[in-house]
């Protein structure tokens, strides 16, 4: 991979992040009425704090450049303001508390769905029109049409309310996290099972559909004919020749989806009251806690941009044609 390729991508990412910061700034300041109405309409803040914040954000000064400069300055310092809802805690720490559960849930979900989806898609595409293709493609299309909550709610009805195998919500039982090992892990696993199934099922469709079409496209390439001409076993042709090439677009999709991990499965978290960023988003939304919403948007947007950058870099490493 050339330094030029890398530099170009890096510059692109930086420009995009700058634009996101700008959008975030303008979104809450260009609205009619005083910015305080939205930014500082917080019953939990004392007049003193309000005054201090006003002064620090320079809300009494002109929008551009003074306010913008101070906004960028405080953002770079990691100061995203104070939450309305959570008793004036800094937005950064409110968000930080919720990142872990989301990473656990959506990260594992991505892993499972990528492995299963790619396996199904690859096999279905390789044996196009076969039984696995017919059943797998049908199921994938249905799953692809289902938002997380439409998958999650029936799972609760069947496996939690009906069969009673798993709890309906939360991440731990009362005091469950404090039990000695391995009971705390088992407790967590029982709570994780259904949300994880929801997220995985929700993503499998996307992966298997893309992998199938990628394999089908690859199958008609000349080098596959070469591999067949070599008299290699069918499985070897698939594994050594079709699969590595068909994976190239998948790598991009997986990396980009990893960026969405953070913002990820908002509705899956809601259905199971999973204490991650998704439920935080909705809590903040209901309380019109704009600083927290802004913070989440910034975090998600930046992680998506970073994931895109990572996708470009990984692609460059896997495909020797880009590596120069």
């Amino acid at each position: 991979m050339s330094a030029r390729y890398l530099g170009q991508r890096l510059l692109q990412a930086i420009v995009t992040i700058a634009a996101i910061v700008l959008l975030n700034f303008l979104l809450f300041r260009l609205m009619p009425g005083s910015p305080e109405r939205i930014l500082l309409r917080n019953p939990n803040l004392s007049q003193q704090v309000v005054e201090a914040t006003r002064a620090r954000w320079g809300l009494d000064k002109p929008l551009i450049p003074d306010q913008l400069v101070s906004y960028i300055g405080s953002t770079l310092e990691g100061d995203l303001g104070y939450s309305f809802k959570f008793r004036g805690q800094p937005v950064t720490s409110v968000i930080a508390d919720r990142v872990g559960p989301t990473l656990l849930l959506v990260g594992l979900g991505e892993l499972i769905s990528a492995i299963v989806g790619i396996a199904i898609g690859a096999y279905a595409g390789w044996r196009r029109g076969g039984l696995v293709d017919r059943v797998g493609s049908g199921v994938s299309l249905v799953l692809y049409s289902m938002p997380y909550f439409v998958i999650g709610m029936p799972l609760i009805v069947i496996f939690a309310a009906g069969l009673g195998w798993f709890p309906t919500s939360g991440m731990t039982s009362v005091g469950g996290g404090d039990r000695p090992f391995p009971d705390n892990i088992i407790d967590l696993a029982r709570h994780l099972a259904l949300p994880l199934a929801t997220v995985s099922l929700g993503l499998i469709g996307q992966y298997s559909i893309l992998m199938r079409s990628s394999i089908i496209e690859t199958r008609s390439e000349d080098y596959i004919t070469t591999a067949r001409a070599k008299g290699l076993r069918d499985g070897r042709v698939l594994r050594a020749h079709a699969f590595p090439n068909a994976m190239l677009p998948m790598v991009t999709l997986i990396a980009i989806n990893l960026g969405y991990v953070i913002g990820g499965a908002i509705t899956a978290e809601i259905v199971f009251s999973w204490p991650g960023l998704g439920t935080l988003t909705v809590t903040a939304l209901q309380a019109r806690d704009y600083p927290v919403l802004q913070g989440i948007f910034l975090l998600v947007a930046v992680s998506v941009v970073v994931a895109n950058l990572a996708a470009d870099i990984i692609y460059g490493m896997l495909d020797p044609r880009v590596r120069r």
Partner: protein, 340 residues
């Protein structure tokens, strides 16, 4: 010659092989493609043979079935293609009734292919030497290191410098890639190498180098070569015999020296006339009016009749029989009656 060349083989003939049988004998081959409106009769009754150490040129316009004929030998057809008749006998073993699994035994080990456009025929994400080592490792059950060693020897043999050993296909020039393709075709020391327009995409200098390489390898290794090309000068330089195809059938076949100096089939004459010859005096190039026939519903008689200046009434009704001449030439044309 036969015994001498077969003696060079690094491994015994296949178990069912008849040591006295000719290397390759294709009889009445019919390969058709299924299309929405019927079967495309891309190859329709083609017969030819190939001896040990011989080079046969397959020529004709694009779409005449020459590549399909060659790929039918190891049945590398697209999913809508099917061999619907005839036989392909290698050492007396008919390959047509074999299952794909059984056919794998003959692919590359007995018959390998140098594809045109090595850029697409090589896997872009695998090092070239690994692609060459692959058939050695998986078909001849050699260890990975032994296979790679063999690959490096082969690359050396086709003239690729050792510092390019770790290269990926896109890092090599067109000529280098084609050399690598040739090295790959030689990996299992096959009896027959099929060259499918191996020099078409290359510029003239490189083209000449590749042809010299092929010629030298053929002599050194005792290979038999089937060369598919539309470039008649390539055939003239490298082949012993030539088979001219038109619309899925053999028009004329025989020693290059005879066919090129005394073409008998009107199509062969037109083809030679349509080809620029820098050694002869300045002639206007001839063109052949009309287009090749629709192969779903080909003409009942001679398929060239609609474009033939010498067509007779019989040509449009009856397919011409193949007539053999004493000088080893075979022609399918009514002009030569049924007796020679």
């Amino acid at each position: 010659m036969t015994a001498e060349i077969r003696g060079r083989r690094q491994w015994p003939l296949p178990k069912q092989a008849d040591p006295s049988a000719p290397l390759l004998k294709v009889e009445n081959l019919q390969t058709h493609f299924q299309l929405g409106r019927g079967w495309v009769k891309a190859v329709d009754g083609v017969s030819f043979g190939l001896d040990d150490g011989e080079a046969l040129g397959l020529v004709g316009e694009s779409g005449c079935g020459k590549t399909t004929t060659a790929l039918s030998l190891v049945r590398l057809l697209p999913s809508n293609g099917k061999i619907r008749g005839g036989s392909v006998e290698l050492f007396g073993i008919d390959l047509v009734p074999k299952t794909d699994r059984q056919l794998d035994r003959y692919r590359w080990r007995e018959i390998s292919i140098v594809f045109q456009g090595a850029m697409n025929a090589l896997n872009p994400v695998v090092q070239v030497r690994r692609q060459i080592a692959e058939p050695v490792q998986y078909r001849l059950n050699q260890s990975e290191s032994a296979s790679l060693k063999r690959a490096d020897e082969l690359l050396d043999m086709v003239g690729i410098p050792s510092r390019r050993l770790g290269a990926y296909p896109h890092e090599l020039s067109g000529g280098m890639r084609q050399r690598a393709m040739i090295a790959m075709a030689l990996a299992c020391d096959p009896a027959i190498v099929i060259g499918d327009e191996p020099t078409t995409a290359l510029d003239a200098m490189v083209q000449a180098q590749i042809l010299v390489l092929l010629e030298q390898l053929r002599r050194d290794l005792g290979l038999s070569l089937i060369l598919i090309t539309h470039d008649l000068s390539v055939v003239a330089e490298t082949c012993d015999r030539v088979l001219v195809m038109y619309a899925g059938r053999v028009a004329e076949e025989g020693p290059v020296s005879r066919v090129f100096t005394e073409p008998r089939h009107p199509y062969t004459r037109k083809l030679l006339g349509a080809f620029p010859n820098i050694r002869s005096d300045r002639r206007t190039l001839e063109t052949i009016p009309g287009e090749p026939p629709d192969l779903v519903n080909p003409p009942a008689g001679c398929r060239f009749a609609p474009r033939c200046a010498q067509a007779m009434p019989v040509c449009s009704g009856t397919p011409p029989p193949e007539v053999s001449f004493d000088d080893g030439v075979r022609v399918a044309c009514h002009l030569f009656g049924t007796t020679a």
